[in-house]
Amino acid sequence: MKKILIIGATSMIAEATARLWAQRGCRLYLIARNEERLNSIAADLKVRGAESIHFASFDLNDFERHEAAIDEAIEALDGIDIVLIAHGTLSDQKSCEQDYNLTLQELNTNAISVISLLTPLANRFESQRHGSIAVISSVAGDRGRQSNYIYGTAKGAVTIFLQGLRQRLYESGVHVLTIKPGFVDTPMTKGFKKGLLWVSSETVAKSVIKGVDRKQDVIYVPWFWKAIMTIIKGIPEAIFKRISL
């Protein structure tokens, strides 16, 4: 029975993943902001088979509380085997271009808060010498594009942070998984017209579980995004700057 901490637990991807872990009888601790929804999710995961469920609700932009919240979670779980970090907002690129404060807020939510959480968590995993750290990044972090480079900057920072962390923790036998979803149909993306490239959060959840089980390093979800991003990353800057992407 695994002891799992899920941060940003009300995100659709986190919830779908938690359901699969619950069905395996895992012990879960959830952190997110919306307490009403957390209540429903906790009840749901219990019925689905989770061994036990605890949760705490607070705003993850309140960095001061990170360390204490993690301590509380690990105590309630009586240890920790897996952490999944899944919170985030889809930045409004156009508004951010007009207002640096908005940009800062987006970077805080999507990058700095993740780094703040991973600092005590990484030390904990390093000293216990086992476990998995799984973080939702994004294909948007692979290359800056005019349509969403603020979000991309944050996710790119997370991706690079995780690359370094993976190398550092390899010695201690701790697994670090970077998850890069493409277009996922969730409330965060409800304003978009959905096409063939879109997948459900259940699809992403299955890949996350597989990535953790098999101790993969970086996964694109679905897999074809790896090919798409390889092509996009391969375009020379001199040409790339002329494309509207």
């Binding site: 659709m12 919306n34 009403e36 429903s40 009840a43 749901d44 019925v47 689905r48 409330p187």
Partner: protein, 433 residues
């Protein structure tokens, strides 16, 4: 965004909200008029269509389960599929299920759906213990047979017109196996099938496929499918994979000859008068779910389903009149399903009442609408009525004649702040406020 029901007729542009919690539902309701709740959109016509929609897709949580009594509490947006997936391996099944498992709990209650066991176990609402309902004034109330029973009864079968169903609890049915013992009986004409239903009234599940293009001496020839839960075998759920119809089929595909050929083969493949086999519950209850988007078979114009019930007093004459009229029109339906209902319940808008129900699909085209208007006259003449969850076109007069308790329904809606708040394109067409 464009929305339509399962029949893909009619289609409308609507503005949808996707609330994440009951509190968000309350704020949607406070800030909108003339809205209707929508689950998985499996009602066929326009019951879940309105300019403003409250989509319950993110309210898909199990809330509580009592392993001793089998009482399950869920938020309204959970699908019957999700319930089966989790609970069949634990030895529990649904007390009542419609012909698809891709409906939500809220939708199953709002349409008071029935299944192949109606003659013994009633409709879905008969197994619901209590409902948490969000009223038009934003208030959340619990309704049951003892608390606000008139609102509870109006909500079961009330097509979402009394408020937003937030959650409900109901009793699951214990099972020993996920297998069903299926027995098929061949009936050569209408009298034979009606007699077969009567002879097998004690069997838990029964439904008949009827060849609605057969005429003369063969009028009403059918295959009666009976089922009982097996006592032995595994408790398993099949893999999720289903085939899908990738695009709209050409509209001429399901023409008269194709349906006639299909019907002949289908009837003919059952060689013996009576044969039995063991089948998985999914193939017994949900034969069509294997083909996701089967609604595309009817092509771009979409289709309408016509389901009516005739009281026992109509005898076989009523069914004969309808079948003769359809056979004469040549607009047969692939899927014509006949079923004997048990007694109805006290809900003002619930569809089932004692007698026989027949369900047919027709491609949505002008001649078919004319045919259905004629069928309405026959059905109402015999004291029958049409199923609201399938309807896309019946007139106000047909509705009010078939559902004499509609005024009682309106009084309850008025008392509980539903008028002006909740309405669908269907409810407006039917003359409800």
């Amino acid at each position: 965004m464009e929305f339509h029901g399962w029949g893909r007729y009619p289609r409308i542009e609507a503005d949808a909200s996707f609330p994440l919690s009951p509190n968000q539902c309350a704020s949607v309701v406070r800030n909108a008029d003339n809205l209707i709740t929508r689950g998985l959109g499996r009602s066929y016509g326009d019951s879940s269509l309105a300019p403003r929609l409250l989509d319950t897709r993110y309210l898909d949580h199990f809330l509580d389960f009592d392993e001793i009594t089998g009482v399950l509490t869920c938020a309204a947006g959970i699908s019957l599929d999700a319930i089966l997936r989790l609970f069949v391996p634990r030895g529990w099944s649904l007390p009542v299920t419609p012909g698809t498992r891709f409906v939500t709990l809220g939708g199953a209650i709002a349409s008071d759906v029935h299944g192949k066991n109606h003659h013994i176990e009633g409709s879905f609402g008969d197994h619901v213990i209590s409902i948490e309902l969000l009223l038009g004034n934003g208030e959340r109330v619990i309704v049951s047979q003892t608390e606000k029973p008139e609102l509870f009864n109006a909500t079961c079968g009330g097509m979402g017109l009394t408020g937003v169903i937030l959650s409900a609890n109901f009793r699951l049915k214990p099972i020993r196996s996920s297998s069903i013992i299926e027995t098929t009986i061949k009936a050569s004409d209408l009298d034979a099938i009606l007699a077969a239903f009567e002879e097998n009234a004690g069997v838990t599940y029964s439904v008949a496929w009827i060849d609605c293009l057969a005429r003369g001496r063969q009028l009403g020839r059918s295959l009666l499918m009976l089922g009982e839960h097996s006592e032995e075998g595994p408790l398993s759920v099949k893999a999720t994979r289903s085939l899908s119809v990738p695009f709209d089929m050409p509209t001429g595909l399901l023409n008269r000859s194709a349906v006639q050929a299909f019907n002949m083969l289908y009837y003919g493949k059952t060689l013996h008068y009576r044969q039995s086999r063991l089948v998985h519950y999914e193939s017994f209850f949900y034969p069509l779910d294997i083909l996701a988007n089967w609604n595309r078979l009817y092509g771009k114009p979409g289709f309408v389903q016509y389901q009516f019930v005739l009281p026992i007093s109509a005898g076989s004459d009523g069914l004969r009149d309808v079948l003769e009229r359809i056979a004469a029109s040549g607009r047969g339906s692939f899927l014509a399903v006949l079923k004997a209902f048990g007694k109805g319940n006290a809900n003002p808008l619930s569809f089932p009442h004692g007698g026989f129900t027949l369900a047919l699909d027709f491609k949505a085209e002008p001649a078919v609408f004319q045919l259905m208007d004629e069928l309405d006259k026959i059905v109402i003449g015999y004291g029958g009525r049409l199923y609201l969850a399938k309807d896309a076109r019946m007139s106000e007069a047909t509705f009010k004649a078939g559902y004499p308790a509609w005024q009682e329904f309106e009084e309850v809606r008025c008392r509980y702040h539903a008028i002006g708040k909740f309405s669908s394109i269907q409810s407006r067409r039917l003359g409800l406020q």
